[in-house]
Amino acid sequence: IRVPELLVPALLGGLILVYFLLPFVTFLYRTGTADVLSGLATPEAQLAIRNSLLTAPVTTAIATVLGVPLAYVLARKSFPGKRLVEALVIMPLIVPPVVGGAMILTAVGRFTPLGSAAAAAGIPLTDSLAGVILAQLFVAAPFVIITARAGFGAIDVRVEQASRSLGYGPVSTFWNVSLPLARGAILAGIILTFARAIGEFGATMMVAYNPRTMPTRIWVEFIAGGIDAIVPLALALFAITLGVLALVQ
């Protein structure tokens, strides 16, 4: 009888799996001892939940509407400067979120031309829900672009060519053929973007420390009350993320 061939790598890999698993187990175990429902019933928690559930979907919608067309162009066309555009799409993933937040502040902060003009028009771009959305968008939009691009890339160009030769222009072909065929990848990208947006912390802390979203509220409560104080909100955030994930799978 053969010895399992991949014993050594399986053991090494098992170590990191245990490390991934352990926090989930201890966290869920801890929730048993905390009063989750009353923790979520406080006005502050309610407001944070409402803010998060308002901003993350808007961010996801903007990222999808602007990002999916971009993904299609990147999957189908080559043009001068394409590599720069590709690098630009990946940059927000590479840049640490706090740095990203600082960068956004230099662009739309209260004392920048853009920021002061917007504030004068009654739409402050920092410390507002608009600021939260801007922070989330910068950090989370690349996910739907990259995933949708892979989805479009996996479609045989000849299927689109067949549609063209059957009398449909590029736009109708996109709606009739490309979009339905890339549906799975686009949905996956939307979920990733939503998950990243609703959990966004670093950039949001910089751009919009107020009004509180669930992640920033967790931080504030942690400072005030330690680990037990944040279990209800952390569990709720975890549940929302998993729920959206499960909804589509």
Binding site: D156, R158, V159, Q161, A162, S163, R164, S165, L166, G167, Y168, G169, P170, S172, N176, V177, P180, L181
Partner: protein, 361 residues
């Protein structure tokens, strides 16, 4: 001419993929473009369909210049090597797709779909999704989809290459039948010599972006204009020979010589030439005969059997001539054993002679 390519040229970057190709396809004609992979034949299909904008030359459909028209403005049906059926639509919806774009009224659409599904012999599969079909069925639905809008030209880009061999021959017959029944003008692109010859009214043999030969299949097969056509269109033995002047001229191989058939002009070429002869035109007798008594109009060459390959329908016998050259002869009956000395006979009428510029003598 329904379809005309006029001096079509295309380069990808520095690579010249198609180099001054001119082809015309008449109403109801099936023209096959045959060549090895990379010869530029797929680029031609893409240019005709409008998916590639050629670097130079013109494409005309029914006399109208369509070179700058987008694909959807050309009345062109296309079937690719791999299935491009829309996986999220049923067979019926796939076939109907092109009719919708052409504003055929819904009631009439259903009728047309029925007619074309019957044409390809798949009336039962109407509600099926492409994933439920076999490879051969997919092919037939694609033919129906491409034909339903009644295009000016049907383009077939290696339509059978991705299929198993057993399916291939059956579908070849189907394509022949469907093309005959609909009378659609067709441009077929393939690397398969048998497929091209058996389907085509006219054949275009491509070599490295250029037309190497054009004409009826049998004519190209029997008197190939270039060595490339001789060897790509069926198998061919290449032998080096000496051409001597005369009326008609004579060719000489390994000390044996024979007169070329009447009608060959002496021309200006003498000296070393390339001779191509097909394995089925080489006859073989066992044993050494004295070549001196031979008729003047047959080349009799001595050799030894080096290898016998039994391919079922026939035997391929490889003979090493005394000159050192090797030559394959076909035999239907049991061939001589390896090592047997044989005499190989070639009729000059079966030989295609090319000069050093690859021009047919």
């Amino acid at each position: 001419m329904i379809l005309e390519l006029d001096d079509l040229t295309h380069r990808y970057g520095d690579e010249l993929a198609v180099d001054g190709v001119s082809i015309g396809v008449g109403a109801g004609e099936l023209v096959a473009v045959l060549g090895p992979s990379g010869c530029g034949k797929t680029t031609i299909v893409q240019a005709v369909a409008g998916h590639v904008q050629p670097s130079g030359g013109r494409i005309r459909l029914r006399g109208a210049d369509v070179t700058d028209d987008p694909p959807e403005a050309r009345q062109v049906g296309i079937v690719f090597q791999h299935s491009t059926l829309f996986p999220h639509l049923t067979v019926e919806e796939n076939v109907e797709y092109g009719l919708k774009a052409r504003d055929v009224p819904p009631g009439h659409r259903e009728e047309v779909v029925t007619r074309f599904l019957e044409l390809v012999d798949l009336p039962e599969q109407r509600e099926a999704y492409p994933s439920e079909l076999s490879g051969g069925q997919k092919r037939r639905v694609e033919l129906a989809r491409a034909l339903a809008p009644e295009p000016d030209v049907l383009l077939l880009d290696e339509p059978l290459s991705a299929l198993d061999r057993s399916l291939r021959v059956g579908l070849r017959e189907e394509i022949a039948r469907i093309q005959a029944e609909t009378g659609v003008t067709t441009l077929l692109v393939t690397h398969d010599q048998e497929e091209a010859m058996s389907l085509a009214d006219r054949l275009v043999v491509m070599d490295d972006g250029r037309v190497a030969g054009i004409g009826p299949p049998r004519e190209l097969y029997e008197s190939p204009p270039t060595p490339f056509v001789a060897s790509f269109l069926g198998r061919s033995n290449a032998l080096s020979a000496t051409l001597a002047d005369g009326t008609p001229p004579t060719i000489e191989i390994g000390g044996e010589s024979a007169r070329l058939p009447e009608g060959c002009e002496p021309g200006t070429v003498t000296g070393t030439v390339d001779c191509h002869v097909r394995p089925e035109d080489v006859t073989m007798t066992v044993g050494v005969t004295d070549g001196s008594g031979d008729e003047d109009d047959v080349l009799s060459l001595q050799g030894v059997v080096r290898r016998v390959a039994d391919v079922g329908r026939r035997y391929d016998v490889t003979v090493e001539l005394e000159t050192g050259a090797e030559l394959v002869a076909e035999r239907a009956a049991r061939p001589p054993e390896r090592g047997t000395r044989v005499e190989v006979r070639i009729r000059p009428a079966d030989v295609a002679v090319f000069d050093s510029e690859n021009e047919r003598v």
